[in-house]
């Protein structure tokens, strides 16, 4: 390909093993992360076909979705979860895959540990049987979620048969206001594009707001690319990226690092590269956002009200909005500010990194979780995040404020372990999905930022954190 290229084009072109004549290319995969939920059937497939893993040295396993966030020394209370976790251990041993076990400090949510370990690098192709794999795009890696058949395909061949996606650039201009975080940016993008707006595209996030974000914030933004329908999100690697990566346990070192840096600096989209779609969002206008419905596109500023379903142009959206409101127990015109919540979840691959915990702790400090709040969980993204937070005294702030300080894992993001939201109750959650039943059957999820979740915890209501902290 000649002429100016996008970051996506460059990574793609560098990984094509064989170009197909029908538009499907055979693409090399540099990094494969696996966890306990989407891997057992892939290992089963290998076993049935008598195949081996082609590149175990590019494959890293960690349990996260099912792990308990309390008392890890006790037997797992759920026999099915225990079996899935046990199968991961057995399969990794049988096929020679490195496993970070539940009791190591390095364990955590797969999308937190990849970058933390330096497994995630700029310019690589990275896959995982999990749709939030786009998180790793924050490093300028082409990272996307795959299904279990594809997991098996990567196991066996270290490649995938893929069609090139269309490209979209989302430029966020201006500067973020007081208490506005990367999560608000991610939600603003979902609201603007809609849950299907990015379908068929890979999004490159750009502009001054994105450049100003820390690596943690960039991961939060890329994490939710899938919530706008895009399979992958990308951010051009820069000095911040390189500083984060250098010195990580699995990152290249010394001369190899210099060679890698020289290559990584060539990756950003060329001036004049053309995207199939361009969207611009005014970052200065973003307010703290919360969701009112059961799709991540259902966002409204905390100062706003629940919309009238009839106000949507699309009739199918009208019906969906009406169903969402019935499920959520909300009425059009209700103010979001002041809606009572009984559960708080600070965690998930969207918002469980050190910066997220700092933002929540800054709000929790010297305050107390409201009396009617049933549970307020803080679940660090990894054992290393937990350790760092404890070194900074954040655990004491949370515990003194009446939060539960837990062991790392996916936890209440999807409620596969005992951390669930009871039916009919609300949860102010820093996770990424507010789907029907996501946090437990009948659970009502409001997505928001870590600072907003902490504000909801201490007031027991959805609250404008800007007022609380003013």
């Amino acid at each position: 390909m000649t002429g100016p290229r996008t970051l996506y084009d460059k990574i793609w072109d560098d990984h094509v093993v064989r170009r197909g004549d029908d538009g499907t290319d055979l693409v090399w995969i540099d990094r494969h992360l696996i966890h306990e939920v989407t891997s057992p059937q892939a290992f089963e497939g290998l076993r049935v076909a008598g195949r081996r893993l082609r590149r175990p040295d590019l494959t890293l396993a960690v349990p996260d979705h099912n792990v308990p966030t309390t008392a890890r020394d006790l037997p797992n209370p759920d026999p099915q979860s225990a079996l899935q976790l046990e199968m991961l251990t057995r399969n990794c041993a049988a096929f020679g895959v490195e496993l970070i076990t539940m009791n190591e400090a390095a364990q955590g949510i797969v999308h937190v540990i990849g970058p933390e370990q330096g497994f995630t690098l700029p310019g690589v192709t990275l896959v995982c049987g999990d749709s939030h794999t786009a998180t790793h795009g924050a490093f300028g890696a082409l990272a996307f979620g795959i299904g279990t058949s594809e997991v098996e395909h990567v196991f066996a061949t270290q490649t995938l048969q893929l069609k090139r996606a269309r490209t979209m650039r989302v430029t966020v201009t201006g500067t973020l206001g007081f208490s506005i975080s990367a999560k608000d940016v991610a939600l603003a993008i979902c609201g603007r594009l809609g849950a299907g707006g990015g379908t068929g595209h890979v999004i490159e996030y750009a502009g001054p707001v994105i450049e100003a974000l820390s690596m943690e914030g960039r991961m939060t933004v890329c994490n939710m690319a899938i919530e706008a329908g895009a399979r992958a999100g990308l951010i051009a690697p820069d000095a911040k990226t390189f500083a984060y990566v250098a010195g990580r346990p699995r990152a290249p070192q010394a001369a190899a690092l210099d060679a890698a840096l020289a290559y990584w600096r060539t990756l950003p989209s060329d001036a004049g590269a053309v995207f199939d779609a361009e969207i611009t969002i005014d970052g200065s206008a973003i307010a703290p956002l919360v969701t009112w419905g059961t799709s991540p596109e259902d966002v409204v500023p905390i100062t706003g009200v629940v919309p009238e379903p009839g106000a949507f142009a699309d009739p199918s959206k009208q019906a969906a909005a009406a169903a969402s409101l019935a499920y959520m127990g909300l009425t059009p015109g209700d103010r979001l500010d002041g809606v009572q919540v009984e559960n708080i979840f600070i965690g998930s691959c969207t918002n469980s990194r050190i910066e997220d915990l700092r933002a929540a702790a800054a709000v929790a400090k010297g305050r107390h979780v409201a009396a009617h709040v049933r549970q307020a969980l803080v679940v660090p993204g990894s054992g290393l995040v937990k350790r760092q937070a404890e070194a900074e005294g954040l655990d004491r702030i949370f515990i003194d404020a009446g939060f539960d300080w837990r062991e790392p894992g996916c936890s209440m993001c999807l409620g596969m372990n005992p951390d669930k939201v009871p039916a009919g109750e609300r949860c102010a959650s820093t996770s990424n999905r507010n789907f029907v039943g996501r946090q437990g059957p009948g659970a009502r999820t409001h997505l928001l930022s870590p600072a907003m979740a902490a504000a909801a915890a201490v007031t027991g209501r959805l609250t404008d954190v800007r007022e609380l902290m003013a």
């Binding site: 093993v17 989407t38 490195e98 979620g145 199918s316 019906a319 789907f435 039943g437």
Partner: protein, 197 residues
């Protein structure tokens, strides 16, 4: 993979939009270690209603599902197509599909047919009382009336479905290309994880 040519049968006129993978198979049923048996839990939340469309006697075991746009959005869980397949579905017809779901469905021998909303509306009406036919070879959906709705399908996927090809075996046939590529890997790519001694 089982070959797919032409299929005629009952089509469940579901019609809902933005059906996400948590609706298709809630997370609490993902704790399986094999592919089979998920059909019993497919659409679990909707099926709590005794009058739900899926358990209507005419619809149980139906091979075709008709849905609204953005079908299969949400997670990458392949449990979604496994659950649909275990219920008996081999074809889903909708205005659009989420990307990952589409890939997963195809890999399990399921045909996804994208048609414009007005044709979907017509099929939803017809399917309430009549069988419909999906012909992959000729890329057309027909009804017992005069309807003939042509659909697009990726040539690679069409070929795999028609012949029931195993994608991994197809890729393995490119082994020389893969080995050649591997020899040129950037030096820092390999050795990121420990391998068994």
């Amino acid at each position: 993979m089982q070959p797919f040519h032409t299929l005629s049968g009952v089509a469940v006129p579901f019609g809902a939009s933005n059906v996400d993978t948590d609706v298709i198979i809630p997370a609490r049923f993902l704790k399986t270690i094999t592919r089979a048996g998920l059909g019993a839990h497919a659409f679990a939340t909707l099926r709590e209603d005794p009058a739900n469309i899926f358990d209507a006697p005419r619809n149980t075991g139906a091979p075709i599902l008709i849905a609204g746009d953005n079908f299969g959005c949400g997670s990458s869980r392949e449990h979604a197509p496994w659950a649909l397949a275990d219920m008996g579905f081999r074809v889903v017809i909708a205005p659009s599909f989420a990307d990952i779901f589409a890939g997963n469905a195809f890999k399990n021998g399921m045909l996804l047919v994208a048609l414009p909303q007005d044709q979907i509306d017509r099929l939803l009406m017809v399917a309430a009382d009549h069988e419909i036919t999906v012909d992959l070879e000729n890329q057309v959906v027909t009804t017992p009336f005069q309807d003939r709705f042509a659909f697009a399908v990726d040539p690679f996927r069409k070929d795999c479905l028609l012949h029931g090809r195993d994608e991994i075996a197809l890729t393995e046939a490119r082994g020389t290309d893969i080995t050649a590529f591997e020899a040129r890997l950037r030096p820092w790519v390999g050795g990121a994880a420990r391998t068994a001694a």
